[in-house]
């Protein structure tokens, strides 16, 4: 019975002793170090690359795009991203040339000594500029997406009030504590092996196949223990692995490339900046009649993951609410800035900041309670989402809202007496949200994630999967699922190192899909393996397989309740009799799921997980600094496989969302990141966060392993909008842009004062029925 128990993480003991070997802890004999020469300008042509005197260039080995034996392309959904710029650059810090040498510091110095002449071209550097320009020269964009449901005109015509608002968010950096790193080498048989920090070994394999024109069996990718990722090691590792492998091919030795913090900040992907506009019709009772959403993303200079980030944002843009009529339009623009990529939440935190702020502002307009307006409009079983998905069971918007409101003492806290002069102003705010687990639509049917399972000779069960452990606990929860399915001890089960030469393609470790999708296959395989063991015992000992059962480390006779042998002995005899006991199976998506990618209609996800976060803030009236003083979260992730690990995911997600809400902001100048360090890109420290109360509502999902849904991304949606709502409650200042820094608060409060004076410029314009907007 290990599902539902807080089994201590299996990699914990090594991690606390400093024995876990991350990529930077490996130094193969004879290894050289690689560095990257990057573009100094955001857009332009490369006229000349020169190697000035003063450096012994003969001691280094270099590679440009010309050295790539296959295609100069790192494929994601499209094939536009280049491994190395070839004569033309599209963002500051785009890689142009790679350089390797035996000494790390010397290579770094040499890389800085390379001189590049450019012919600069006009650059588009912000989302607003891109929108104004229409499109970006030299970059591609994904196709726009549209969702339409119901009679939108009729819906607005029926509204008593229409509320509009525009909400903006900027970049967010992942700040995994372990920076990106790889070691690559070539075997004498022509195989390339790369080892590093990543989420998706088979994405890296696919990229290397294309770059080096090699078949899959010639490309081995090994995921080392990954020191945090949050989506940031979904896409970017394919680039760095390509760089290290290319240099290694030129040098003829292993090459190690581990970014320092500055390079990781300036040169890797970030969360997409976005602007989302809501126009919502609402009747006198506070019921939504119609909604029109315009969602715009900044994709950066290459498409990479943007089409799916856009799609996920668009699908979630209606929030956990029901609308008789809705239209959602999504577009992605290109800018001459580093490509934006996957980041926990994947387009959804951007829209939830908008929707959850907007709903509070509608409530304020109507003089309604924020809880009540949500309760009135939230999705319930039997309703359809914006994509037309009929929600059956497992819809917990009402439950998580009630739970978070109760446990946080929201009601009492929102009725606090006004503070005395100089005292901090306290406010409480909430946000309600959901997240679709797994790939969108029929993605999981196409992916057919494979998992392998082996009974070792010593009676242990080995799970072979490409799902990596970046801290979220794959190596612990998969064994829990298998142990429960087989009724054996969790210590009997372990997860193999993710190495493409050994593990099948279970798909990427993304999209909150690991437990609910890949874990489901683990459960099914474990059930099959248990049956196979019992059949073998029955053949040996007589009777039918039903006469036996697994328990702990033994097989028992059901009739007598006594052990007939240890798993170890039986496994040894099984392997003796029939060789390697290995099973492999793929994921089967529920065949009832229907999805139209063209129109974005149908069952967007196999299941949604639900959440509500309540945040209390204290605002210093003099400095306008905001401190979070209490966080209460309630999440329905179906069955909780491991409560301590699940709480850890929630607490970490809340912390990142508080960072997004209050502190984290990338500053740019002419396409260059100005704050690539911890001194000026500020993430929450232990003194910035309050205690976080992470609770769960368990509404099991029948198609998930023992009822589990996805969890990883969900908790990042709530705290940022809840903070802005709490600030509005405390001060009346309506902040519509993140992060809510003192500067931004001051600007918003000045704008509000100005707006009150001329009564024109309130960002949430309200119009009565029939009035023009």
């Amino acid at each position: 019975m290990s599902v539902g128990e807080s089994v201590a993480r299996k990699d914990g003991p090594d991690k606390v002793r400093g024995l876990t070997r991350y990529i930077d802890d490996h130094n193969p004999a004879g290894c050289w170090f690689g560095a990257t020469v990057r573009s100094a300008i955001p857009h332009g042509r490369i006229k000349n690359i020169s190697f000035p005197k003063g450096t012994r260039w003969d001691r280094f080995v270099m590679a440009t795009a010309k050295a790539i034996p296959g295609r100069n392309c790192v494929p994601f959904l499209t094939e536009d991203l280049v491994l190395l710029a070839d004569g033309y650059v599209r963002y500051v810090n785009e890689p142009i040339l790679l350089i390797a040498g035996p000494n790390h510091d010397e290579v770094e110095r040499a890389a800085r000594a390379v001189e590049i002449d450019y012919e600069p071209l006009p650059a588009i550097l912000t989302l607003d500029e891109a929108i104004a320009a229409g499109t970006t020269d030299g970059c591609q964009v994904p196709r726009p997406l549209h969702i339409r449901r119901g009679d939108i005109e009729e819906g607005f015509a029926r509204a008593d009030t229409i509320v509009e608002g525009t909400y903006r968010v900027g970049h967010q950096e992942h700040v995994y504590l372990e920076t990106n790193g790889f070691i690559a080498w070539w075997e004498p048989d022509g195989r390339v092996v790369v080892k590093g920090s990543m989420q998706c070994p088979y994405y890296v394999q696919r990229a290397l196949k294309m770059l080096f024109a090699l078949p899959g069996e010639k490309v081995e990718v090994i995921a080392t223990p990954t020191g945090g990722a949050f989506g940031g090691k979904e896409d970017f590792p394919s680039v760095l692995a390509g760089h290290a492998a290319l240099l290694s091919r030129e040098v003829g030795r292993p090459v190690k490339m581990v970014y320092n913090r500055t390079e990781d900040f300036t040169s890797t992907t970030k969360r997409h900046p976005a602007r989302v506009h809501y126009r919502t019709g609402v009747d006198k009772e506070g019921t939504f009649t119609a909604c029109s959403v315009d969602f715009v993303l900044d994709g950066g200079a290459f498409i990479t993951m943007s089409p799916v980030v856009l799609s996920r944002g668009v699908i979630h843009a209606s929030g956990p609410y029901h609308y008789p009529a809705i239209e959602i339009h999504g577009r992605c623009y290109a800018t001459h800035t580093p490509p934006n990529g996957a980041f926990r939440g994947f387009g959804v935190p951007q829209v939830f900041f908008g929707i959850e702020r907007h709903v509070d502002r509608i409530a304020a307009r109507l003089g309604m309670d924020p809880v009540e307006i949500r309760r009135r409009n939230l999705l319930k079983p039997g309703m359809r989402t914006a994509t037309g998905q009929l929600l059956r069971d497992g819809v917990s918007a009402a439950e998580v809202l009630a739970d978070a409101v109760d446990r946080s003492g929201y009601r009492e806290r929102s009725k606090r007496p006004a503070p005395g002069p100089g005292e901090p102003r306290r406010g409480v705010g909430l946000a309600l949200y959901m997240h679709g687990a797994g790939f969108t639509g029929s993605g999981e049917a196409r992916m057919k994630s494979l998992v392998g399972m082996r009974l070792t000779r010593s009676g242990r069960v080995e799970i072979l999967t490409a799902s990596t452990d970046m801290g979220q606990g794959t190596r612990t929860v998969f064994p829990q699922i298998a142990a429960r399915a087989m009724n054996i001890d969790v210590d009997q089960v372990f997860v193999a190192e993710p190495d493409t030469a050994r593990v099948p393609d279970s798909g990427p470790t993304v999209a909150s899909r690991t437990v609910t999708i890949v874990g489901r296959v683990v459960q099914q395989l474990a059930e099959t393996l248990a049956r196979r063991i019992l059949r073998f015992v029955a053949e040996e000992q007589g009777g039918g397989p039903d006469g036996y059962a697994l328990q702990g480390t033994h097989v028992l006779s059901r009739e007598h309740g006594t052990p007939v042998g240890t798993l170890a002995d039986i496994a040894a005899r099984m392997t003796e009799a029939s060789g390697d006991v290995y099973l492999e199976q793929g994921y089967t998506l529920n065949p009832d799921i229907r999805w139209n990618e063209e129109t974005h209609e149908g069952d967007a996800y196999p299941v949604y997980a639900w959440g509500c976060t309540v945040v209390e803030v204290a605002l210093d009236p003099d400095t306008l600094e905001v401190q979070t003083t209490q966080v209460t979260a309630s999440h329905d992730i179906g069955t909780v496989v491991n409560p301590v690990l699940a709480e850890g995911q929630v607490e970490g997600g809340v912390a990142q969302s508080i960072g997004y809400g209050l502190y984290e902001e990338v500053h740019w100048h002419e396409g260059r990141m100005l704050n690539p360090g911890f001194t000026n890109y500020v993430i929450p420290t232990s003194v910035d966060l309050p205690d976080i109360d992470a609770g769960f509502v368990e509404n099991p999902f029948p198609d998930g392993p023992f009822g589990a849904k996805g969890l990883g991304e969900l908790p990042i949606h709530g705290a940022a909008p809840a903070i802005a709502n709490a600030i509005a409650q405390a001060t009346g200042i309506d902040v519509c842009e993140l992060p809510v820094t003192p500067e931004r608060l001051l600007a918003a409060s000045n704008a509000a004062a100005q707006g009150a004076r001329d009564d024109r410029h309130d960002p949430a314009s309200e119009t009565k029925k029939g009035e023009a907007t």
Partner: protein
Amino acid sequence: MIVTFTINGRSCQIDVPGDHRLLDVLRVNLGLTGTKEGCGEGECGACSVLLDGQVVNACLIPVAQVDGAQIVTVEGLEAAGGGPLQEAFVALGAAQCGSCTPGMLMSAYGHFLESLRNGDDPQDREGIRHALAGNLCRCTGYQKIIDAVSKGYEELARMPSLPPAAPAPQTGHNDPSHGGGPGHGSLTG
């Protein structure tokens, strides 16, 4: 220059330029890769070690500065008395990705030792938050870390004899697991 110091109870002599960072000497020359580099600028605490019983960022310390000093890294934490903290980190889920964990543990143990020296109560939750403010963690929201530090302190306080502020030198031969790096340091027992 030749630098001599005690590392995790063993004395060690090493010939390196004196301006090399202690962090590199530990990780590369001595193969003690448990100490992590998160920023190299003294801002994240991933490289925290104990230097004569005080928490320092090994990325900011030129190795010349540690001549004659006693250094404890995460590999020596258990022997130095910090085992209960390590156990609590595992039991309460305080390590997720684990990158911040070694530094976090060293800061937590340093805070405990310092509280003892100053006669303060190490258990004060705000005090723990402040002691760990220089150690960034991106995975946990610090909740389970603070819970685990608190539990570890409870266990430490229960121990019959309080741990020495810095570990006593141990005898014994080189531990081969410490010799992984291609460096030219020597550990002598």
